[in-house]
Symmetry: none
């Protein structure tokens, strides 16, 4: 199943959100990660201009958001639901990490609709709500300050959903990273650079051939880490050749 289809099967359920701005931020967070199905359980204020403002280009998710009076209604038809919870609830599902739990959520999404359930900004989810979910997740935070913004929490979990959906998908990485645009330097080209560098250092008196010390190995170590391209070797040798012309030494490389 395509990652995009799996992501489209994830409902984000916000229970009793107080601030319409957070609803907008959640919509924007969802859409950046390829999620689209927003559900609101008894929102304090919705629709609201502040939600639209914070959603920016994701107002379509707000327009399509379904509002209900109960979590049970929002979860109707779901095959799996995960509750965000800062603490282990009595008899509640064991709390997992975002990475492991979102991987599990995506696995279940291949079987049907699934849900991510978030509580109210100050109260979180009730025990009764957590017990309606099959799994629970905590976003690890600093013990000194665990006050994650609701929109930020939605962003982190949606991000992990996208990472899980596209995991092992080489095409994503290919889009992200551009390989070297130039051919790599060959062994002999790099050795030519070292020879040229040694000649210039000797000419200028920076290197004493009788007592070379660790200078050359250090330069090899530095350039060895850089995965030199042919073009780069040519630039460096061009710089060296230009200094040789000025100092009256012929090219020795």
């Amino acid at each position: 199943m395509k990652p995009e289809v799996l992501l489209s099967r994830i409902r984000v359920v916000l229970c009793r959100p107080s601030h319409p701005g957070n609803i907008g931020a959640a919509a924007r967070a969802m859409k950046t990660m390829g999620l689209s199905d927003l559900r609101l359980v008894s929102p304090k204020q919705f629709p609201d201009p502040e939600a639209d403002t914070r959603a920016t280009g994701a107002v379509d998710l707000l327009a399509n958001a379904r509002v209900s009076d109960s979590l049970a209604e929002a979860l109707h038809g779901c095959v799996f639901a995960v509750a965000l919870s800062a603490r282990q609830r009595d008899l509640g599902p064991a709390i997992g990490t975002p990475r492991d739990t979102m991987a599990r959520l995506l696995e279940r999404a291949s079987l049907g609709e699934v849900a991510l359930v978030f509580g109210n900004e100050t109260m979180g989810l009730s025990n009764e709500e957590v017990l309606q979910c099959q799994a629970a997740v905590t976003i690890p935070t600093s013990p000194d300050f665990s006050s994650l913004n609701l929109g930020a929490a939605v962003q982190v979990l949606c991000y992990e959903c996208r990472m899980a959906a596209f995991s092992g998908a080489a095409p994503l990485r290919e889009q992200l990273t551009t390989p070297f645009t130039a051919p790599p330097a060959t062994h002999d080209e790099i050795e030519g650079l070292y020879g040229h560098l040694e000649a210039v250092m000797t000419d200028t008196g920076f290197l004493n051939p009788a007592q070379p010390g660790r200078l050359l190995p250090k330069l090899r170590r530095l350039f060895g880490r850089a995965d030199l391209e042919r073009d780069e070797v040519n630039i460096l040798r061009g710089i060296l050749a230009a200094t040789q012309q000025r100092t009256g030494h012929g090219r020795k490389g």
Copy 2:
């Protein structure tokens, strides 16, 4: 080194942020993940009540935030900097995933101060700013809607920093990878090298300042990949100084 200490060594640098609310959201996102060092480069409006409101319990980070006029100043003393960039820049560092790149950032944090650099909400970072960083990262988004909120982007990367810091994988990596034998070069030391190199190339006629072309960005890209050590910068500058003495030019760096 303790994860908490590694996280305390990460600067979050916001370049030219337009909306004070986003500065507040970034501070809150940082603090939830155990980061504390916020730097602002030419913010449009700061301090501002809206920043305080969105920061909630993280106003201490705003009070301690250092404001500067240039990215170079914000990165002074850093041994590694990562730019958030939605696209591969011409000659810029290769773009990695948040997971891999934050793991690398945490590794470097064991050697000194490091930085995560974010651009303006609408314009992002300039090419010149990206070229001051040794690595780049993109947060994977839906191709249909890639408009991540600035505060949300800070949240995702700080979350990945915390996950990397507490992954427990660090000791294993320390065994696998060869640790640096010398202290890493800082941002300002590396910039000093580039200035020195430019002076020598200009003196020798290799570089025409009126038509510099892509020479300097190419050299930044090469040395950016190498994770330069202080000792290596000193060697390279020693070579440059020796050629200057021979060509009769004084040190210009």
